[in-house]
């Protein structure tokens, strides 16, 4: 089975963000960028499926500027066999990304598509669900376990989902879309020889025009602000003092 795994280039999760002085967006100039953490989990899951003999080929795909090829090379170093870069310098909203991925799905005909549940920049949590709708596939969002053959029929995947209050397990008809949650796996680090080998793996490019997709969006970003800072309070000397403050000053007890 061919597995398509989508990755996104985002600000490194350890970097403290700055809002541009004109409030037009977050300032990404000279900021360390990396693969979105949920996408790392997606790549790891695809690699594990290949190690188990379930996946036969892993194709990594990204939508983004030229520099996003770095993240595709990372995916290749981690175990993807080849990569597809849908190149655009424009700001692309989730729906347009889903349409572009649908174009790649039509070309590649994967048995399973794995994406991160959300990107840590826009925090939208939309693309996987939108792709599933456009491709008329079932969706296993917020997955903490992905299994084949175990309690489900041939041609299905069993996905355990992290839902409010617990876990839900569904069976999805293949091909299907899975989005990853934190506990699905712990991603490995790329080894140096694999990083060297990844440079020689095939990487094809596409454009939105070639895929017949307009990246125009019904959404416009009017303003980006820093949230009101919370001011630190006081340090207290004892439990008695804390209870007194909560009762008589904050009046929450």
């Amino acid at each position: 089975m061919k597995v398509l795994v989508a990755v996104k280039r985002v600000i490194d999760y350890n970097v403290k963000i700055r809002v541009k002085p004109d409030h037009s967006d977050v300032d990404l100039t000279n900021v360390k960028m990396a693969m979105n953490p949920f996408c790392e989990i997606a790549v790891e899951e695809a690699v594990r499926l290949k190690e188990k003999g379930v996946a036969t080929e892993i194709v990594a795909v990204t939508v983004g500027p030229k520099a996003a090829q770095e993240q595709l090379r990372t995916a290749l170093a981690l175990g993807a066999d080849r990569a597809i870069h849908v190149e655009t310098e424009e700001r692309v909203e989730s729906l347009a990304v889903a349409k572009l991925l649908k174009g790649v799905v039509d070309e590649e005909q994967p048995g399973l598509v794995i994406l991160g549940k959300q990107a840590i920049d826009t925090d939208n949590n939309q693309t996987g669900q939108m792709l599933a709708a456009l491709a008329n596939m079932g969706q296993g969002t917020f997955a903490s376990e992905v299994a084949f053959g175990d309690g489900v029929e041939e041609g299905e995947v069993r996905v355990t989902r992290e839902i409010d209050g617990g876990l839900q397990t569904v069976a999805l008809k293949l091909p299907a879309v899975v989005t990853t949650d934190l506990r699905l796996n712990e991603p490995r680090y790329a080894k140096l020889p694999d990083i060297m080998k990844a440079k020689k793996k095939p990487l094809d490019t596409r454009t939105p025009e070639a895929l017949g997709v307009s990246v125009a969006s019904g959404l416009s970003l009017l303003k980006v602000e820093t949230p009101a800072e919370r001011k630190g309070g006081i340090k207290l000397g004892s439990v008695d003092e804390l209870i007194d403050k909560l009762k008589n000053e904050a009046k929450v007890l």
Binding site: V26, D123, N125, G138
Partner: protein, 308 residues
């Protein structure tokens, strides 16, 4: 304008978040209907009809909607979309699962997890784990929106909406329900609790979380955890408070042995009063806490429980 709110329900009970979503719908303005979809949901529909400000509760009661899987539910919502200018749901795992699918079926964008309504087409929402707030405007004729429930006050009970049965049955071959494992919990739900007490990596292990039980009992609090405590395997993920877990905004939030990573702060910094208990005087959590106690939590917690 007319707004459709997707009701959320579990075990025949309307979820508390739905009243908050109706609160967000009121801020947009216009007629508000609620969709209750599920199997055997007459009681949920009656509860929804009592919410203030609601005109009509539309009920899709069929086995096909049991467990509210995204595939049939999104199709149903897409079929109802032409009657509405907006569809709203809580930014819960249910709303996050279903609504983007609806948006794609209708070829429109989704606005995720709004914090405020600036006008009927303009909203504020958090980006970068709440470290920035974006104001976004939608020109789509049909707007698909999820709502951060803690950012909107709930409407009261006291309304008397009409209840209308829908005979649209959408079944989907794409997915089927296998099972559910829900945490058994007599405490209030994290999202709606008035008091939350959370433990972090400083708790040392999962057993030590029992030290929070007595305090939670006395305060009627929900118990949460930081991502570090979840990743260390102390407690299950559904207890996680933070950008990648639950977003809470209780009257009182007590952080115990939590250093205060950005991703945790994003999940609790809108709490009214924050108390931090930590042995590290320099822990970033003290920068957002109203009251801090520096010391050994294994001494402080039993004393606090006893004196409350």
């Amino acid at each position: 304008m007319s707004i459709l709110v997707l009701a959320e329900h579990h075990d025949g009970q309307l979820a508390a978040g739905t009243a908050h979503v109706v609160g967000a719908a009121l801020a947009i303005g216009g007629d508000i209907d609620i969709l209750v979809a599920g199997d055997d949901v007459a009681g949920v529909a009656e509860a929804a009809a009592r919410l203030d400000g609601v005109s009509c509760v539309r009920v899709a009661d069929a086995p096909a909607y049991a467990h509210q899987l995204a595939e049939p539910l999104a199709e149903l919502l897409a079929q109802l979309a032409d009657d509405y200018s907006h569809v709203l749901a809580a930014a819960s795992t249910e709303g996050k699962n279903v609504l983007p699918r609806v948006a794609a079926l209708k070829d429109v964008s989704q606005i995720s997890e709004i914090l405020s309504v600036e006008s009927a087409d303009t909203f504020k929402r958090p980006i970068y784990a709440g470290n920035a707030i974006a104001t976004v405007q939608s020109s789509d004729a049909f707007k698909v929106i999820t709502v951060r429930t803690t950012a909107f006050d709930p409407v009261a009970d006291g309304g008397g909406a009409t209840i209308e049965a829908l005979d649209i049955v959408v079944s989907s071959e794409l997915s089927r329900f296998i099972g559910e494992e829900l945490a058994q919990n007599e405490r209030p739900e994290l999202g709606g609790a008035r008091v939350v007490i959370s433990g972090g990596r400083g708790m040392g292990n999962g057993d030590n979380f029992k030290l929070l039980d007595g305090i939670a009992d006395k305060l009627g609090a929900a118990i949460g955890a930081s991502r570090a405590a979840v990743d260390a395997g102390f407690v299950p993920n559904d207890m996680q408070v933070g950008q990648t877990g639950k977003i809470v905004a209780p009257d009182l939030y007590i952080a115990v042995g939590i250093s205060g990573a950005i991703q945790h702060l994003a999940g609790m910094k809108d709490s009214k009063v924050i108390v931090a208990i930590n042995k590290d005087d320099e822990a970033p959590i003290f920068q957002v806490a109203d009251y801090g106690l520096v010391g050994d939590l294994f001494e402080i917690l039993p004393e606090l429980e006893q004196k409350l």
